[in-house]
Subunit: 240 residues, 2 copies
Amino acid sequence: MSQKPFLHTVLSPKLLGIYDVSNSVVVIIDVFRATSTIATALHNGAAKVVPVANVEECIAIGKTLGAITAGERDGKVIPGLQYGNSPAEYPRSFIEDKTLVITTTNGTRLLKMALDNGADEIITGSFPNLQAVCNHLIKKGKNVILGCSAWKDRFNLEDTLFAGAVVSHVKEYFTIHCDSSLMAEDMYTLHKNNMFSFIRKTTHWHRLSAFGLEKDLEYCVTENAADVLPLYKDGALIAG
Amino acid sequence: MSQKPFLHTVLSPKLLGIYDVSNSVVVIIDVFRATSTIATALHNGAAKVVPVANVEECIAIGKTLGAITAGERDGKVIPGLQYGNSPAEYPRSFIEDKTLVITTTNGTRLLKMALDNGADEIITGSFPNLQAVCNHLIKKGKNVILGCSAWKDRFNLEDTLFAGAVVSHVKEYFTIHCDSSLMAEDMYTLHKNNMFSFIRKTTHWHRLSAFGLEKDLEYCVTENAADVLPLYKDGALIAG
């Protein structure tokens, strides 16, 4: 019997370089809120979502593509952009067939790193599209890197919980010699039935809830509300 | 009321640079087995323990100080050195009043990084000296960095469990806005009553148990068996 492919969890972009991402599917995880919003926009029919690292790029690419531009700082739309980072802003009635250019800090940075390091395939993951991610990983049967975007390189709980959710669903199909993955699964198992109360303890909750984003954050830990596979291709995420 | 000092957990040496270690007590954690062996040797009366990064340095400093030299690779004493890395090799009858020069990879590297980054004080922590570490941190009342040595920069469970044990014992005395610390405490609470079986799941167990080190590893997660405070001063760890 051939060995099952490997699965590793990377807890911070700073740790990505330790792992060989070539010949691997890399799952970019930025639960609060980039990858949750990307899944939601694509699930609601967006043509594509272009993740960019800064505001200038967002404005420039938005203009070139005639696209919607989005980005927030401190809970407010960034001057020069049109919309925010909330998944609630992208219902089908608004986003269908449109292109969204979104500026996010941690998630986009990790995605570019995975690209530069030669990842075989890049997808994005969040609780709203948990099942689609798991189905895809099982179907592909390749090595997997679950990449947590973290916050300014610091470990965060919400991305780890999502990695744990994936581990818990796909582990029988992979070889997992990875303490990060064991920990992530433990944390998910421990908290999956009290997610709304547990996320109130995280540092990110304290940052974002100050801006009245509680409902947003609760949505971002709700499983399979936007079950689509965002696949990175030619600079954009499309429904795979 | 003045604010309580901060406590952070750093899950890998690669993440140390994100944190400000100046004006902080840094606890170097290398549960399997460097910091467990250091605590044991000092608890059994060693005059001091000099941690060094490589074999050449170990031999040279050992000669200069007329000290015992120790280091292992793959479960065997490294040629040119005298003893191994097992805490069981350092009973009082052997180590009392002697100086031990020990070569360890992950722990020593993190210690030097903390030193270079200007840590205010460096101590080492392990389950055998958990209580001494906690008492010291509470008494000092300074900011604390719990530094996990990890394994080749990869997150490991055993160092995280020890960080969690410290958090669980001292948390009321500190301001903890740190997801790593919350996670570590959860992991410790989840597994503290089944530690011997849980550590059998870790990747490090799989590496070391192949060398017949099971008893060693069980000792390394036994609380307060060598309750001493190893304090780094003038290039060596001494009983504080």
